[in-house]
């Protein structure tokens, strides 16, 4: 058994949600509920968190000098908005767990294994 990070990425501004009606939003919420309930029956969700859509800092060091900028704001690229830390046997299984996540209608999911020492 391994641990995997499911990194949920999408546009920080959440533009995909802009035109949705309250009823449509609630329907999407229900889909997430169904997915996570099913996931809990298949495996353990160790942890999950949402990262704030505002704020964030990028720290870099160039020739010994540390710079801090606001971000990430990568244009047109997807930003990590949240994560699930789950257990799975292997990549195939982790990917299978993530494949029917409603998030995929709005963004992408990066699946990364936690390195076991």
């Amino acid at each position: 058994m391994q641990q995997f990070l499911l990194l949920l990425k999408d546009d920080r501004a959440g533009a995909w949600a802009a035109g949705l009606s309250p009823e449509q939003m609630q329907a999407i919420m229900m889909r997430y509920g169904t997915w996570s309930k099913a996931l809990k029956e298949k495996t353990t969700i160790v942890n999950s968190n949402k990262l704030t859509d505002e704020g964030g800092k990028l720290i870099r060091s160039t020739s010994g000098s540390v710079t801090v900028t606001d971000g990430p704001y990568a244009e047109g690229k997807e930003i990590i908005g949240g994560y699930y830390l789950i257990e799975a046997e292997n990549y195939d299984q982790a990917v299978e767990f993530a494949s029917d996540c409603p998030h995929l209608d709005f963004g992408s999911i990066e699946v990364r294994a936690i390195h076991k020492l």
């Binding site: 009606s21 009823e23 939003m25 997430y32 996570s36 999950s48 949402k50 699930y84 409603p102």
Partner: protein, 405 residues
């Protein structure tokens, strides 16, 4: 969602209206637009956060706090508002949020949307958007209108609210009866759309609004009970009206599909609506719905009572549709010849020229009298005028030999 419970049905939609009302009270109706945008932002935020972080213990409180913060942010960003003093911001930002469950200002918002400065169609649009929480597309689809048209009505509504400087408050005692009549009419229009288009969700919404009026002592009145009764008794019977995409005649409808809880509530309101002195059109329509709803089967329908109710309705509403329904009721109560005598009085009525209802009524009488050739001709005339495929399918089915009412 870790530790999440299911959300109450329509929570987002209902809270959208409720929070819009509370914040419009706080910020003033001239900032209606800003408030609506803030509420939408709060809902989007919930949609993005709750699936991963879990549904908060009080979703309503979370949404209200988030919406208010967004409203304050928007208010600040608007260049004109930045003229405000630091004291103003402090006051606004530190006014405590009401305790959850917070007072419900939705009724006041409903009255605001139905203000006399707004025309009926504009009122209906803004009511559906702001109180009921439907989107422009959902409203357009419900009322068979272009989204552009609805959007324009909403713009006009907000402009009128701003320009007329309409205060966010319930009308005075003197103004209330007239204002309430407008609100009841708007709810009735919503119900009518739901009923004729077999849209249970619209009827459900009409029920919610009617019961909101009944729950408040300022707006409670027999007519509101009558409207609630009409909506409930119709909604209760709706599941039986179609099967596999086809309309069923009253006689064919499976009454075991009727919703007993909605019937019970409907009858209760119907009894309560009898307390007033005035018998309004809504009272009569509710009474007609009650007559159908109380019949355990088609054969035991009290057509004499129904015909008499249509007669009374005709005194207040001389719509030819009422006259046709009255004729059919007389046909059921007595015989088809009696119905035909009534239908003859409507021949040549210009209001019925493009409607299939008169031809369909004639077709029924011919079928009752065993004259299948005349029935076929009338049915074909009805089909030619019909605006809906479902209706045409229904008429064709009748023509091909099924009994109807």
């Amino acid at each position: 969602m870790p530790g999440a419970d299911q959300l109450v049905e329509h929570l987002f939609r209902h809270q959208a209206g409720r929070i819009t009302a509370t914040l419009t009270r706080q910020f003033g109706s001239s900032h209606f637009d800003l408030v609506e945008d803030a509420v939408q932002e709060a809902l989007i935020s919930a949609l993005r956060v709750w699936p991963i972080a879990g549904i908060p213990t009080s979703p309503e409180g979370w949404l209200l706090a988030t919406a208010r913060n967004r409203a304050i942010d928007r208010f600040r960003r608007d260049a004109k508002q930045s003229q405000q003093t630091d004291q103003f911001w402090l006051a606004l930002a530190t006014t405590p949020l009401p305790e959850v469950p917070f007072p419900d200002d939705t009724l006041t918002l409903l009255f605001l949307c139905c203000h006399p400065a707004l025309t009926e169609e504009v009122s209906l649009a803004i009511m559906l958007k702001s109180v009921c929480g439907f989107s422009v597309e959902e409203i357009a689809w419900s009322f068979v209108a272009a989204p552009q048209t609805i959007a324009q009505r909403l713009v006009r509504a907000k402009r009128l609210i701003r320009e007329s400087n309409i205060h966010f408050a319930m009308p005075s005692d003197a103004e209330l009866p007239a204002r309430r009549a407008t609100v009841l009419k708007a709810i009735y229009l919503l119900f009518n759309e739901g009923h004729s288009r077999l849209r249970f969700d619209l009827c459900e919404e009409a029920i919610r609004l009617a019961e909101m009026l009944i729950a408040d002592p300022r707006t409670n009145c027999p007519e509101a009970d009558a409207l609630a009764a009409l909506c409930l008794l119709s909604a209760a019977r709706m599941p039986a009206r179609e099967f596999a995409g086809e309309l069923l005649s009253l006689e064919e409808q499976d009454r075991t599909l009727w919703n007993p809880e909605l019937l019970h509530r409907g009858f209760l309101h119907f009894i309560q609506c009898a307390r007033g002195d005035e018998e309004t059109i809504i009272h009569l329509e509710a009474a007609l719905a009650a007559e159908h709803a109380k019949a355990p089967n088609f054969a035991q329908t009290d057509w004499i009572a129904i015909a008499a109710l249509y007669e009374r309705l005709r005194q207040k509403n001389d719509s030819p549709i009422v006259a046709i329904n009255r004729a059919i009721a007389i046909g059921h109560a007595l015989n088809a010849l009696a119905a035909q005598r009534e239908l003859l009085k409507l021949d040549g009525d210009p209001r019925l020229r493009h409607s299939q209802l008169l031809d369909a009524a004639w077709a029924w009488t011919w079928r009752e009298l065993g004259n299948s050739e005349s029935a076929r001709i009338s049915t074909q005339q009805a089909i030619a005028k019909s605006a809906s495929e479902m209706e045409r399918q229904y008429l064709r089915k009748l023509m091909n030999g099924h009994r109807n009412s």
